[in-house]
Every structure is written in C-alpha cells, then in structure tokens.
C-alpha cells in the first residue's frame, strides 16, 4: 500500500508538471496580453516595451515559467497585473465559496441518489423507478443556466421566496441562515445535474450485480434479502460508482461556470471567466493548478477506495489482481 501510494504520488507530480508547462504555453499563446488591457489602445510602442519589461514579460518564456514555478512551489501564486493584489487573497476565498456551493449540491445529490438508486434496482420499472428515470432525464436534458433562470423567475421574482442571486444579503455577511437561504436555488440546479448521473449509475450498477450468480448463491444460503442487497450486492456495485465520484471531485473546486454566473456566486467558475477576459495570466495559472491538483487527487482517492472495497485490487503487490 505505501509503495503503491508513493508511486502514484510521484506519477501525479509528473502529471502536474506537464499540465503547468502546457497551460503556461497555452495562456501565453493566446492573442492580446495584460499590457493591452492596462494601457489601452492609444499607447506608444515604447510605453509597451517598458511596461513589459517591468512585468518581466520580455524575458524568454522558459525563464518566465521557471520564475513562476519557483514562486508557486513556495505557495505564492503571484500578483494580479492590474491592481497588484496577491493572488492568494483572491483565489482561496473563491475556492471556499465554490466548495460550499458545490459540496452542498454534491452531498445532497449523493444522499438522495444512492439509496434511491439501490431501492429502484430492487423494484425495477415501478412507480419510484419511473419517477427517478424522468428526473434523471430532465437532469441530463435541461441546460443548467436555463433551469436556474426558471427558478429565479418563479421562486424569486414571482413568489419572492428566495433571493435572486449573490451569496449574502448586503450587511449580513457571515450569517449562516442568510447563506443557506441564498444557496437553495443554485444548489437545486447543481444537485439536479449530479442527481441525474448518480441515480442512473447506482441503479445500473446494482442491477448488474443483482443478476450475478453469487447473489443467487446468497439467496440459496437463506441469507435474508436485506443482507443479500447490502452485504453481497452493494459492495460489488459500489466500484463503478466510486469511479464516477472520483472523477467528479475536481468539479467541486473547479466550480460551475454557468450556474455561478447566473446566480452571481463569487466562486471559481465566475472568477475564471472574469480573469480570462482581463488576461490575468497568473490567476488563470493558479486556477489551473488548483483544478489539476484536484483531478489528480480525485483519481488517487478513487484508486485507494477501490482497494478498500475490492480485495482483488492489491495495491503494490505484484500479480495481485487477476481475473
């Protein structure tokens, strides 16, 4: 296990390095630059040169990269070009805001989807199952921004039950009740999206396992049906579900571009759009690095969970996994 973990962590570091190189090149290849934004269209070429020199943008790209990498490794993502604000003070609150929103939607959808999916797998094509199918269908089909606008239209403008947007009412920052009240609509939108997939995955995965021979064996032993489902079937059915959950983990920090914009939620998704338009290379790089770390962590976590659930995945042992 330790050996496996070390190997996976080393692999992850290589992956992260390559991601940053690639992103750095890509961001710099995009047309325009911070100097254009800062100085406006009427500037002289000399002024531009001076500006670039001051910001270190006239150095060769690899050198710029090394410079950035050195700072990043010490935990310093740099400063914004425009106001020279430390990026750390911008980015971490945004990560937190997104985590609150996405985490709530994710946990909510899991709490609903997994037990419901399991139940539906034992009673296929019943009323409950058909309702779940319709919900999943809607969740897949409805664009999140449109669903968000619909909710705003009815529950904010017409009924006035929930706030239209933002995270807090002005002057009420830090009030948990106020936060929860603001979360209802965006969480509903995001949870529906998660719910659609998880409902279908958990149901399908259980259904597949329930038809396995060993489930019949368990019934032949006289094992009570509840044990059959939870001890025999569920443990086998969880593996594909864990994969999907691991793959979704980065989204929790990466944020939802559209939903955050519709509800004016000060999260990563909205931040990314704003900073891309402002050509704030360093902020974009910071967001990219954080997201990439989450992707790698999510996959690593899923792999470790496999081993917990499936004894055949023998981490780090040679010739462990057969069949």
């Amino acid at each position: 296990m330790t050996e496996y973990l070390l190997r996976r962590i080393l692999q992850s570091i290589v992956v992260l390095f390559l991601v940053t190189v690639f992103m750095f090149a890509l961001v710099h290849a995009a047309p325009g630059g911070p100097t254009h934004v800062l100085l406006g269209p009427g500037m002289s070429p000399e002024a531009m040169k001076i500006q670039e020199h001051n910001m270190g943008l006239d150095q060769p790209l690899p050198l710029q990269y090394l410079h950035w990498l050195k700072d990043m490794l010490t935990g310093n993502f740099g400063y914004t070009f425009k106001n020279h604000i430390p990026i750390n003070t911008i980015i971490w609150p945004t990560v937190g805001n997104t985590l609150i929103l996405m985490g709530a939607a994710w946990v909510l959808s899991l709490i609903i989807a997994i037990p419901w999916g399991i139940y539906n797998s034992t009673k296929t094509y019943g009323i409950s199952d058909n309702v779940a199918t319709v919900i999943a269908y809607l969740g897949f089909a409805i664009p999140s921004f449109w669903f968000g606008i619909l909710l705003q239209e009815y529950f904010s403008l017409k009924l006035n039950w929930f706030p239209l947007s933002d995270m807090w009412t002005v002057g009420k920052q830090g009030d948990i009740g106020n936060l929860l009240w603001h979360m209802v609509l965006p969480v509903t939108v995001l949870a529906l999206g998660f719910l659609a997939g998880y409902l279908k995955y958990s149901r399908a995965s259980m259904l597949e396992v329930l038809h396995e021979d060993f489930v019949r064996t368990a019934r032949a032993k006289g094992v009570p049906e509840r044990w059959v489902i939870y001890r025999h079937a569920l443990r086998n059915a969880l593996i594909p579900v864990i994969t999907v959950l691991g793959l979704d983990l980065p989204v929790l920090v990466g944020g939802a571009l559209l939903t955050e914009n519709v509800f004016n939620w000060p999260g990563m998704g909205r931040e990314f759009v704003e900073m891309a338009l402002a050509r704030e290379y360093s902020v974009l790089m910071a967001i990219t690095v954080i997201t990439a770390v989450m992707v790698v962590l999510g996959n690593l976590l899923a792999d470790i969970l496999y081993a917990v659930v499936d004894p055949r995945v023998q981490l780090g042992k040679k010739g462990g996994a057969s069949v």
């Binding site: 021979d213 064996t217 019934r219 032949a220 006289g222 659930v309 057969s322 069949v323």
Partner: protein, 346 residues
C-alpha cells in the same frame, strides 16, 4: 400391468400415472405437475404476448439417499426445474413436496428455514462465489445466518468443512480468485453442506471443470453422500457423467420429463427415442466398433411455441400421425420405469 417383451415398435397399452411411482420408499422430494412459464413481453407497454414454457407439467420423485440424475439438452428446463424445487424461483403451477410439506406454499421465513435442509451447488465456480468475501466467510455465512455459533465455533466448523472437501484449511483467509476452478467448486460444495442438509441439488456442478478435475469432484460428491447420507438431484447435460453417479435418471426434453428409469436399465434399454439418441451420442473409446449413431435432425423447437402433440415429434425418427396430435402422458412400463411416448422402443 403390461409387460411387453416383444421386439419392434408395437404400441403398448400401459397404465397412465400422474407421476412416477413404483417403490415402497416414500419420496424425500416430489414434484407434481410443476410448471414454470416465463412471460414474453413486447412493445412500449410490456404487453405479455406469450410464455416460454420452461418447465411444463413435470412430475417425479427422489427417494431418500439416492442420486437422481436429470439430463437433457441446454435450455430444456433442467435448471429451472431445480430452482423451482428449491423455491429459488416461484412456480407457475404444481406442487413440490419436501417431507410431505408443499415447498411452494411456504412463507418467506419457512423457506429460509428450509435452506438448512435443501442446498444447491451451482455450475459456475467463478461467478457463484462473491469476489469480495473471504473463502472463510463464504463457507461460514450459512452458519452465521442459521446457527447460533460463536466466532470460534464457526471457524472450527469452516476448518472441518474445508478438510472434508479436500481443501487446505490454512487458506481460508483468502479470496476466491486465489483458488483454481476445481478448488472453488469445492468451496461451493463446502458451503452447500455447511448446514448438514439432507437434500443437495448439483446443478451442472462439474460441467465447467476439466475432465480430470470433474472426476475428482464427482468422487468427492459420492464420498460425501456416503459419509453424510445426502440425497442428490444431479443435473447434467451429458449422460456419461450421470451414469457414473446416479441411481435413477430422468430425461427432459423441451420442458417435459420424457423418461425416468433406474440408471442401469436406462442405459441397457432406453424406451424413449430421445433417450436412445442421447445414449448414442456418448463417445466410446472402443476401436473397430461400428455403432449406429442416431443423429437428430433439426434444432430444438422454441419452448415459447412448442410443437403440438408429442413435443419430440418434429425430430423423432419414429413419429407417427398420432404423435402430432395427441400428447403422450407418462406411463408406467414396469419396475418403476416411466416413459412419455405413444410407441416406446422395446
């Protein structure tokens, strides 16, 4: 009772019976007119447009201590019949008696208590063991469910069972994938006999194994029968394996029981043309022996739409007009033999 010894194909008059009888010993397990139909659903609204008659009015009995071999082609309903007898599946009709009680009318908790008495060994030694369970837990689970035992007592019983089936008990803390096919089947057997059942169904228990391993497992099954006084329903699709182990043999064709006889008699003189065809298909390692091989023409008809009259008439070399119209019932042919044929071979 008619005892025609005449050679040739003369229609015999025989007594129609509801189910095979003939011995004084009461049956341990008895199926009467068991039917299992699977609905065929079609279209958006899942309309039922017909039924697959997997088991259609089958009656037979198994005496205590014997091995009853059940043979027939793939898809003839053998496994379905076995599962209905064990109530792993419900029946569409009929009765199954175990020690005088109707298994099909039992409540859920009664059925679970019945699992102590009746067990099954499955065909697939790979799929039938839960890959997430230690072998120890697979074997011990019936004990956990049905017996009040301490963890230590259970572990002792697991060791005892593994020794009994010829497995190295020190490997009990391993997972099924670390065992070979034959060893896994032994795990399945140990699990099946854990509760000391009286009646064990071996559903193609050796079909998935190599021939050399097959005979080892067969010998193990016979040894366990002697030592533990088990009664077997032994299902196979070939007759050679069944001959080795069974006292009596039942032959199924397309959801129907077509012949039941003592093993020796069945092999010496099959009465049903289908049995004769099955027998002639057994390969024999003898040189220079010209044998007449009965090759059946055509495919097995669909059990959703079985032929009229005798279900075998489409492929029977001796079919007559009567066979197309009238369905032959099981009738007694002396010494406990029954056959469902208008013109049995004699």
């Amino acid at each position: 009772m008619s005892t025609h010894i005449a050679r040739g194909r003369i229609p015999v008059t025989a007594v129609e019976t509801h189910y095979p009888t003939g011995a004084d010993v009461p049956y341990l397990v008895e199926a009467r007119h068991v039917k299992k139909y699977f609905p065929i659903q079609k279209g958006l609204l899942n309309r039922v447009v017909g039924h697959v008659r997997a088991v259609d009015d089958v009656s037979f009995g198994i005496r205590p201590g014997e091995t009853f071999g059940l043979v027939g082609e793939s898809g003839c309903g053998k496994s379905t019949l076995a599962r209905v007898i064990l109530r792993l599946q419900g029946a569409s009709g009929g009765e199954v008696f175990y020690e005088g009680r109707d298994v099909l009318k039992m409540s859920g908790s009664e059925v679970r208590r019945l699992r102590r008495e009746m067990q099954i060994i499955f065909q697939d030694p790979f799929g039938s063991l839960n890959p997430r369970f230690l072998v120890r837990d697979i074997i011990a689970e019936p004990l956990r469910v049905h017996e009040r035992m301490s963890a230590k007592e259970r572990d002792e019983r697991v060791v005892e069972l593994m020794r009994l089936v010829g497995l190295d008990a020190s490997r009990r803390n391993r997972y099924p994938h670390e065992f070979s096919g034959g060893q896994r089947q032994r795990v399945g057997i140990a699990r099946a006999i854990a509760l000391s059942p009286k009646f064990v169904v071996a559903d193609e228990a050796v079909s998935a194994l190599d021939v050399s391993v097959q005979s080892q497992v067969l010998n193990l099954l016979m040894k366990l029968q002697r030592d533990l006084g088990l009664t077997y329903l032994f299902i196979a699709h070939g007759l050679n394996v069944v001959r080795h182990i069974s006292n009596r043999v039942g032959v199924m064709y397309l959801g129907k029981m077509v012949e039941v006889a003592e093993t020796d008699e069945l092999f010496r003189q099959p009465l049903h043309p289908y049995t004769a065809a099955l027998l002639s298909a057994i390969p024999r390692p003898e040189l220079n022996r010209k044998r007449e091989r009965i090759v059946l023409a055509g495919d097995v008809p669909s059990p959703a739409n079985p032929p009229s009259g005798c279900r075998f008439h489409t492929r029977c070399p001796f079919a007559q007009a009567r066979c197309r119209e009238e369905e032959p019932g099981l009738r007694e042919m002396g010494s406990g033999r029954v056959v469902a044929c208008h013109t049995p071979l004699q």
